[in-house]
């Protein structure tokens, strides 16, 4: 008997049918991937299983007990734990305190027995194979260690179903293996793990079965053994896609941007060069200093020492505007927080870096702004019924294109893409890759920061790896291997 079943779940939001008569089941001791493009209904389904939202129709059956209108407390009591992308930890409390948050430890009603708490926390951590100390404060932990604490919380709750929403998105490549190990351990304890991910490779590596949603409809459940990548993608997008990484016919030209001994913002003595027509992949763990390097290059943070050369000339950027004037533009990692004006229309977002350029005597020409918008909506094939739509209304992939468009509209041709395809669907990923290829072919220089190994090796002409604020190695196309990149990213340089 499956530990968890959803039966004929339908959920409508005003104007949207997020889930349409969806049924599926999850077994004890399996890692079951849940896949689908953005907007397919995965997160709504998770919310319903967790009791955070109630379904309009259908029921959730946990361990044979059927719930209609399940509350979060019901879900918790039934043994369902969810680890969301934004972790739910109190950063200034210790690991042990976080593990037992909301629980009584010891006999006192007032003061928890901290000794007992730390002992039990140490047990949980040992079970997860972690060497983190229970007394450590959570903010001192790396992203993957924090995730481990979340998993520990689920363990303390004695969970039967563990739902993980894109757990690999927030942590670095080298730490993913460790997370996999813990997830497998949970499986071996008999927990049903529901694993939501956009990364096809890790689904094949980790999961026994995969269920696919598309536009709120249940499409299929397949065993990953015997399923082809093509087949999976076809289920997700409803059509065939050409090869994942389109070929590029770019000629590598002169150096566009050189960092010479660049130091500051947590980075030390960075020497990197990117040429016109080239994609330089920048790999490393989260916190290796890649984003910090990007912030210095794009003028947001002033380096303490060292120099930046743009087209062969030394440049000092006092602001992002200075860097843009030299053609250097950043496409930031977190499009919602750092890139977009979510409530503003597309025809505001795309020209938003260029208002000054589009104005005379301080007065913005609305006509020019609209023409610029139209040009980039066409060129990047941004799908929207009108440029008056708020950015919030677009899908993740189209939002990403808007962020790229606004940097291109500002006439930048030395581009830093920070995690360009995070959280966007397969179809949009391909379009972003083609777009990057087109840019390289037309002579732009691209630095691509990515934690997605496939993308790193598939798109880059060269790869530089960073570790703790330093560049630990550079690999040319011939030397590429996942193994080597991972070694460098963990500081192993021999």
């Amino acid at each position: 008997m499956p530990i968890l079943e959803v039966a004929n779940i339908t959920k409508r939001y005003p104007g949207v049918t997020a889930l349409d008569d969806v049924s599926m089941s999850f077994e004890r001791g399996e890692i079951h991937a849940l896949m689908g493009e953005n907007g397919a209904g995965k997160s709504t389904l998770v919310k319903i299983i967790a009791g955070a939202e109630s379904a309009d129709d259908g029921e959730v059956i946990v361990g044979g007990k059927a719930f209609r209108g399940m509350t979060p407390l019901d879900a918790k009591r039934a043994g369902i734990s969810v680890i969301y992308q934004e972790l739910n930890l109190a950063p200034s409390l210790s690991v042990a305190e976080n593990l037992f948050i909301g629980k009584r430890v010891g006999n006192s009603r007032v003061r928890p027995d901290f000794g007992e708490m730390n002992r039990r926390a140490a047990e949980v951590l040992r079970e997860l194979g972690s060497n983190v100390k229970p007394e450590t404060l959570v903010f001192e932990l790396s992203a993957s260690q924090q995730q481990l604490v979340e998993i520990g919380k689920a363990l303390v709750d004695n969970c039967k179903v563990l739902i993980m929403d894109e757990p690999s998105a927030a942590i670095a490549v080298a730490e993913v293996e460790n997370m996999f190990r813990v997830v497998r351990q949970m499986r071996d304890r008999g927990v049903a793990v529901i694993y939501i991910s956009h990364r096809i490779d890790e689904v094949f590596e980790l999961c026994g079965r995969v269920s696919i949603l598309r536009d709120g409809q249940y499409i299929a459940t397949e065993r990953t053994e015997g399923l082809s990548r093509r087949g999976l993608i076809r289920h997700m997008v409803g059509r065939e896609l050409s090869e994942t990484f389109p070929r590029r016919a770019a000629r590598v030209g002169e150096a566009a941007l050189e960092a010479v001994g660049l130091t500051g913002n947590g980075d030390f003595n960075i020497n990197l060069t990117v040429r016109r027509g080239e994609v330089l992949g920048l790999a490393g763990l989260v916190g290796a200093g890649r984003a910090e390097f990007a912030k210095m290059v794009c003028g947001d943070v002033r380096p303490a020492s060292g120099e930046l050369r743009v087209n062969g000339r030394v440049r000092r950027f006092g602001s992002v505007a200075d860097a843009l004037a030299e053609g250097v533009g950043l496409i930031p990692e977190d499009r919602k927080r750092e890139g977009l004006f979510m409530d503003f229309a597309i025809d505001w977002n795309i020209p938003s870096m260029s208002f000054k350029r589009l104005s005379r005597f301080g007065i913005v020409s609305q006509k020019k702004a609209e023409a610029l918008t139209d040009r980039y909506v066409d060129a990047l094939r941004i799908k929207t019924p009108s440029t008056r739509q708020a950015a919030r209304n677009l899908s993740g992939g189209n939002q990403q294109k808007v962020v790229v468009a606004r940097t291109l509209a500002a006439e930048a041709d030395i581009l830093i893409f920070d995690e360009p395809t995070r959280g966007i669907d397969v179809g949009s990923k391909q379009e972003i890759y083609s777009l990057m290829n087109g840019l390289a072919e037309s002579g732009s220089a691209i630095i691509m920061i990515t934690s997605d190994m496939e993308e790193l090796l598939g798109m880059s002409d060269r790869v530089a790896v960073m570790y703790e604020g330093r560049v630990t190695g550079e690999l040319t196309r011939g030397e590429f291997s996942q193994q080597r990149a991972l070694e460098l990213a963990s500081g192993y340089t021999a």
């Binding site: 939001y13 005003p14 104007g15 949207v16 049918t17 907007g39 536009d215 059509r239 794009c298 947001d300 602001s319 992002v320 505007a321 860097a323 843009l324 950043l330 930031p332 927080r337 750092e338 890139g339 977009l340 004006f341 979510m342 409530d343 503003f344 505001w348 938003s352 870096m353 208002f355 000054k356 589009l358 104005s359 301080g362 007065i363 913005v364 799908k383 929207t384 019924p385 739509q389 708020a390 919030r392 209304n393 677009l394 899908s395 189209n398 606004r406 500002a410």
Partner: protein, 333 residues
């Protein structure tokens, strides 16, 4: 019909103002006369001028709670220079505005130095300014301001009730309205209110912009203080105390979001006038002033609720649009 409702929700303050005006016209003999309307504008000129600054701050994503005491201390200093020194009137006015700009720049400086939202700095400053104003006036009202000074606010042009104060206000309102909607400076202000980090990474020098916004706020508050004491002919430590609540309520009713990034000056003017009409109505009805406080508090909370409601409504509409967009995109492949 749908469009009418949409218009009413977008321009709530204007619709309510017209409604309130119509009710007063029907019930009061002398309400809908040119003289009375000009009088209302004259009485509120200083609030509307100050509002131009506060709205700028709010659209840029900040809040200022020191407005009342900021204006009070500027008014007091201005009155003291007028009555106790021989500095010529135009120089006094210029100095007052400069002092106001300096105070507002100090606010921006502290905001940047401490890296905290402007609201907290200004809450502290409000008390500081209040104390200073009481100390330097010794809690006494300064009156007997020179006629040449009072003329700046009270002088009239063409119609006895069309005062310079009203004209100055009209010019500022028009200028702010134009600046916000047509210049890149205005767009940058909206961008900052919409998403400060994104604005900075889009190449907007947000630090410099904050100083410029601060200077403009100081300018508007300084002029508003001059107009206020010019119209009443006297200044005291509490002359403009509490005016920030009226302004904030008016601005919120005018559709500026407390989270920043949206708003229209014309609607804010309507919002301020609406608040003024309501207070005026309560005074005419002879309400106990304490009940008026209660009413103002309720209106302020309603304005916040309206802001929330606008946001919810938008998110429902967004969901509907998003589905349409996703469907169209799917059809087109």
């Amino acid at each position: 019909m749908k469009r009418t409702i949409d218009f009413c929700q977008k321009n709530l303050a204007l619709v309510l103002l017209v409604t309130a005006g119509a009710i007063f016209s029907a019930t009061t003999a002398n309400f809908f006369t040119l003289t009375n309307i000009l009088n209302i504008l004259n009485q509120n000129a200083y609030t509307i001028i100050a509002m131009c600054g506060v709205a700028l701050i709010m659209i840029g994503g900040d809040l200022d709670m020191s407005v009342g005491y900021h204006m009070s201390i500027c008014g007091v200093l201005c009155a003291m220079m007028l009555t106790r020194t021989a500095i010529p009137v135009p120089v006094v006015v210029a100095l007052t505005v400069l002092l106001s700009v300096a105070a507002a720049t100090l606010t921006t400086f502290l905001t940047e130095l401490l890296a905290i939202p402007r609201i907290f700095v200004t809450i502290g400053e409000a008390t500081l300014f209040q104390g200073c104003a009481y100390v330097i006036t010794n809690s006494k009202t300064i009156s007997n301001l020179p006629a040449a000074f009072k003329n700046i606010a009270q002088g009239a042009l063409g119609h006895p009730s069309l005062t310079y104060a009203t004209l100055i206000m009209a010019v500022f309102v028009a200028a702010m309205s134009f600046t916000l909607s047509h210049t890149y400076f205005g767009r940058h202000v909206f961008s900052m209110g919409g998403n400060l980090t994104a604005a900075r990474l889009a190449g907007i020098n947000t630090r410099r912009m904050k100083y410029i916004i601060g200077i403009l706020v100081g300018f508007f508050l300084g002029v508003a203080a001059v107009i206020l004491i010019g119209r009443t002919g006297a200044a005291a430590a509490n002359t403009a105390a509490g005016v920030e609540i009226n302004i904030l309520t008016g601005i919120l009713l005018g559709g500026v979001s407390i989270r920043g990034g949206e708003g229209k000056i014309s609607n804010c003017v309507a919002g301020i006038l609406l608040v003024a009409l309501i207070s005026n109505g309560m005074q005419l009805a002879g309400w106990n002033p304490y009940y008026q406080y209660i009413a103002k508090g309720v209106i302020m909370l309603c304005a916040l609720g309206f802001d929330m409601f606008q946001m919810r409504r938008r998110s429902v509409m967004n969901n509907q649009r998003k589905e349409e967009i996703v469907k169209t995109a799917a059809r087109e492949g």
